[in-house]
């Protein structure tokens, strides 16, 4: 171990000698300069499906043409792993995620720096992280979509617990354990109905021959084409598929008395501790909270904008029409590990 630490010391010295830019650490965040004149590379780790994030980045780019946007796309945990791995050698400026658990637990590891966007005042309660470590962007609901050619109206399951009904055996598609939204749903269910019921539900899904894909795009296309009758997705995947002209319907599940309610989640952005281009990172956060940025999420992606006063896509049902499940994100993030254990125990693909 002596040799290793010596080597590390030498390398650290070398590093310090040749790249002063990496020594940006724990310095107070400099005030954002005038919105013009930003430049340099802005490194974004994005867990969002690329077609859903590229349009809003294009709009940002149009405003700051000097900034060179570098994206690394992956899923939440893959990028979270990278951020953890890089804590002493930070590479990313910002992290964009598809749910709140990951940013919440990464924040506990001290991966992010604080930034309160002036626009964050317009966000509802609970959609900024502790000490402004992360900032919420949009909201989404976990819904059931179905192929209307194969499932008559009114016969589609109305609860996620109906998905274990043997009459749907082999006809359901969902996203697998690597998908952030699915992880978040399982974490939420552990809170809502407890570990035992959640585990039984997962085992029943597997027994019911549910097919698990890597991401939701696959799920929506499969349901749209009729390869599967039913899919468990985020609500906007239904709209995206509908827009392509497929015969699909949507169910906002678990609205009945005594049921758990609609599980929702939010996307978020956070600035990485040690970011090399904090000014551009802050500009991006600000931009995504402007009406223009929020409108792109709402219009192109059918998401629920978090900033008040931005219009929904006309087809999208407003969330206040539904009974929402009550989930404590901070608590769920604390036992994220148990959620992973559970997925592995039941062997979720």
């Amino acid at each position: 171990m002596n040799f290793r630490s010596a080597l590390l010391a030498v390398l650290a010295l070398l590093l310090a000698a040749c790249s002063p830019s990496t020594t940006v650490q724990f310095t107070p965040t400099p005030a954002v300069e005038e919105t013009t004149g930003l430049s340099g590379p802005l490194v974004i780790y994005s867990a969002r499906s690329e077609p859903l994030i590229q349009p809003v980045l294009d709009a940002f780019q149009a405003q700051y043409p000097e900034v060179e946007i570098r994206i690394k796309s992956g899923n939440n945990s893959e990028l979270a792993n990278a951020l953890l791995e890089e804590r002493n050698n930070p590479q990313a400026d910002v992290f964009i995620t598809t749910e709140l658990l990951t940013v919440q637990s990464l924040n506990q590891e001290g991966v992010f720096q604080s930034y309160r966007s002036p626009a964050a005042a317009a966000l509802p309660e609970g959609f900024t992280g502790p000490n402004d470590s992360w900032t919420g962007l949009t909201r989404r609901a976990r819904v059931i979509m179905y192929n209307t050619d194969l499932v008559p109206e009114g016969e589609a399951p109305t609860s996620i617990f109906d998905l274990t009904d043997p009459k749907w055996r082999g006809q359901i598609a969902a996203a697998g354990s690597a998908n952030g939204s699915m992880q978040a749903q399982i974490a939420a269910m552990r809170q809502l109905v407890g570990e035992g019921v959640t585990e039984a539900w997962l085992r029943d899904l597997l027994a019911n021959e549910v097919t698990f894909f890597g991401g939701h795009t696959d799920v929506r296309k499969a349901v749209g084409a009729g390869e599967f009758k039913i899919g468990l997705v985020n609500h906007y995947y239904y709209h995206l598929q509908k827009e392509e002209g497929s015969p699909v319907g949507i169910v906002y599940p678990d609205q009945g008395e005594g049921q758990i309610g609609l599980i929702t989640n939010a996307t978020a952005i956070a600035i990485v501790q040690g970011a090399k281009n904090p000014a551009a990172a802050q500009a991006l956060v600000d931009f995504l909270l402007t009406p223009e940025g929020q409108e792109i999420f709402a219009r192109l992606n059918f998401e629920y904008p978090l900033v008040e006063g931005v219009a929904l896509q006309p087809d999208v049902a407003p969330l206040d029409e539904f009974r929402l499940a009550d989930v404590d994100v901070a608590a769920a993030a604390l036992d994220l590990d148990e959620t992973f254990d559970l997925m592995e125990r039941v062997n979720l693909p």
């Binding site: 290793r4 080597l7 590390l8 390398l11 070398l14 590093l15 040749c18 790249s19 590379p41 490194v43 974004i44 780790y45 499906s49 690329e50 077609p51 590229q54 349009p55 980045l57 294009d58 780019q61 060179e68 946007i69 570098r70 994206i71 690394k72 992956g74 899923n75 945990s77 893959e78 979270a80 792993n81 953890l84 791995e85 890089e86 002493n88 050698n89 590479q91 990313a92 697998g176 354990s177 690597a178 097919t211 894909f213 890597g214 991401g215 795009t217 696959d218 296309k221 499969a222 749209g224 084409a225 009729g226 390869e227 590990d337 992973f340 997925m343 592995e344 125990r345 062997n347 693909p349």
Partner: protein, 547 residues
């Protein structure tokens, strides 16, 4: 009177070969190279063994047996499939009077330029139940949805991997068929065997080492394959490791799985090296003459149909579909403006990234292979053979494993390299070095050592002798090795996916990300560019095969 003929024959037959002293700097360099290649391997084993009992237990209880069965079944099926397709196609184009054999040879080899996952993307788009082009067309014909076989799962994966990997076996067996003496088959015929039984009892057994080596290389590729199996929802070791890496915040399970996968791969590689050692079918000596071509007669049409079926599924259909998608993308003004981009990067960035990273990897791999190959070719003994074999373990290092070890090693010990494109290049070098070592070694073995000695007696130091005499002579062989490394690096997916820094996407990565999102029109131009870029070195390699 003593019989001197015996003496003379002994003198001519058994050249007394001296055992020269090892060149120290070269030995040092070769040892360094072998260590460089071996470090990731050793590190992963270390991490696997120290992964913790709890991780092992958890894996054994849940995943391990299933993964093992899945992986081995797929490897066996694809190996068998590629053998059947590869050898039969080679036999048809080399040993029969199949019309247009020259053109077929090219068409049957070109699928090497198509990464299997790109081929799989096309076939999935065509075949996926109800949603695919073919089921939809059939449904339109029938006026109702038609059930078609699913391209997903074991059979789909086996089918598509066979389709895009048979060229390895095809090329090896075609070369073997070509260089094999006609007299073997003629002797068998004279001894009363039919053409058919001569093929089974004489030709194929003689070619067995070459075919065995080719088939095991395919098996190694299957162990390493990620894109295709992930796309076809069939979980093998590589896919499971990838999942673990992108799952929980813990590397030990991935390390344990990698360790087991490595053991599997090393076993296969060991077999391959043994076969490789036996695969010395005779050279084209002065006595060589091509075997008489078998007349197909009434079998001509079925044979043509079979070859056409293989060529169309593995080459024509993918390229056509990709071209149509590309045309769609280019014709639509909206997609033309917004498409092909991620962040501030565009298609040309990806192309450039692909080309330079693969090019640099090829250059480095060949340079690093030289000392190892030189020692093994010039000083054959246990130590040098061991170094040569050690530097070939890259064959047994699946992309995900290389990536995992590099993530672990580089960030811990070489943080200044972390998240630079150089790590991606490093992964290519580690993984594809064996191809360079083999071509360098083969081309060095063809240059007589007396060539260098002659240069030395004519006043050149041994280093200068190498530069002025040996290097010019082995240059074509080195180019071939570089072309091979370039080709395979261009197609590499899993390691690139895991190791690429932000903003450094290659064509392969872009194709994968866009295809995973189902945006085929966007993936297609990148895929076509990738195939085109790979076709260049492939053309060079095939020309060397005396096509």
């Amino acid at each position: 009177m003593a019989d001197l003929a015996g003496f003379r024959n002994a003198a001519l037959g058994r050249r007394f070969r001296a055992r020269p002293r090892l060149n120290r700097p070269v030995t040092l360099a070769a040892t360094f190279v072998a260590a460089f290649v071996a470090i990731p391997l050793v590190y992963i084993f270390y991490r696997a063994v120290t992964g913790g009992q709890e991780v092992w237990l958890r894996l054994v209880q849940t995943r391990l047996l299933g993964l093992l069965a899945n992986t081995l079944m797929l490897a066996a099926a694809v190996t068998l499939g590629t053998l059947v397709v590869g050898v039969s196609m080679a036999w048809l184009t080399e040993r029969t009077d199949l019309p247009g054999r020259r053109a077929w040879r090219w068409l049957l080899s070109l699928p090497l330029a198509i990464p299997p996952y790109i081929g799989a993307v096309v076939h999935v788009a065509l075949l996926r139940p109800r949603g695919g082009y073919i089921p939809q067309f059939l449904g339109w014909l029938a006026g109702r949805p038609v059930d078609t076989p699913s391209p997903f799962g074991f059979w789909g994966a086996a089918f598509m991997l066979t389709l895009f990997m048979y060229p390895y076996v095809y090329l090896l067996s075609a070369a073997a068929f070509r260089s094999m003496h006609a007299s073997f088959e003629e002797a068998a015929r004279i001894s009363g065997r039919s053409t058919w039984s001569a093929l089974w009892q004489v030709t194929l057994p003689i070619l067995k080492p070459a075919l065995g080596a080719g088939a095991l290389l395919v098996a190694l590729d299957i162990l390493a394959e990620y894109g295709t199996v992930a796309l076809l929802r069939y979980e093998t070791f590589s896919a499971a490791i990838f999942l673990q890496l992108s799952g929980r915040y813990d590397r030990s399970a991935a390390a344990v799985l990698s360790g087991i996968l490595l053991v599997l791969a090393i076993l296969v590689l060991w077999g391959e090296i043994k076969f490789q050692g036996q695969a010395r079918f005779d050279q084209l000596g002065s006595g060589w003459r091509p075997a008489r071509l078998l007349r197909l007669n009434q079998w001509k049409t079925p044979a043509l149909l079979a070859v056409f079926a293989v060529v169309s599924m593995s080459l024509l259909v993918p390229v056509t579909v990709l071209s149509v998608w590309t045309a769609q993308a280019l014709l639509e003004p909206h997609s033309l403006a917004t498409t092909f981009r991620s962040g501030s990067q565009g298609l040309w960035n990806y192309t450039w990234n692909s080309l330079w990273s693969a090019g640099l990897a090829a250059l480095l791999a060949v340079l690093l292979s030289l000392p190892v190959a030189y020692l093994a070719a010039r000083f054959p003994r246990r130590l040098t053979q061991a170094l040569s074999r050690l530097s070939q373990v890259g064959y047994a290092l699946p992309g995900v494993v290389v990536a995992l070890s590099l993530i672990l090693i580089v960030n811990r010990f070489l943080p200044f390299l972390y998240a630079t494109p150089l790590v991606v290049v490093l992964a290519y070098v580690l993984r594809h070095m064996p191809q360079a070592v083999r071509s360098s070694q083969a081309s060095l073995a063809q240059v007589s050592p007396s060539m260098e000695e002659a240069a030395q007696t004519l006043g050149r130091t041994s280093f200068k002798a190498f530069i002025h005499v040996t290097l010019p002579l082995i240059l074509p062989g080195l180019f071939a090795g570089a072309a091979l490394v370039f080709l395979t690096s261009l197609k590499e997916l899993p390691a690139t996916l895991l190791l690429r820094p932000a903003g450094f996407d290659t064509l392969a990565v872009r194709v994968w990300i866009w295809a995973e999102e189902g945006i085929f029109t966007q993936a297609a131009p990148a895929a076509l560019l990738l195939i085109l870029a790979a076709a260049g070195p492939l053309y060079f390699l095939l020309r060397r095969e005396r096509f």
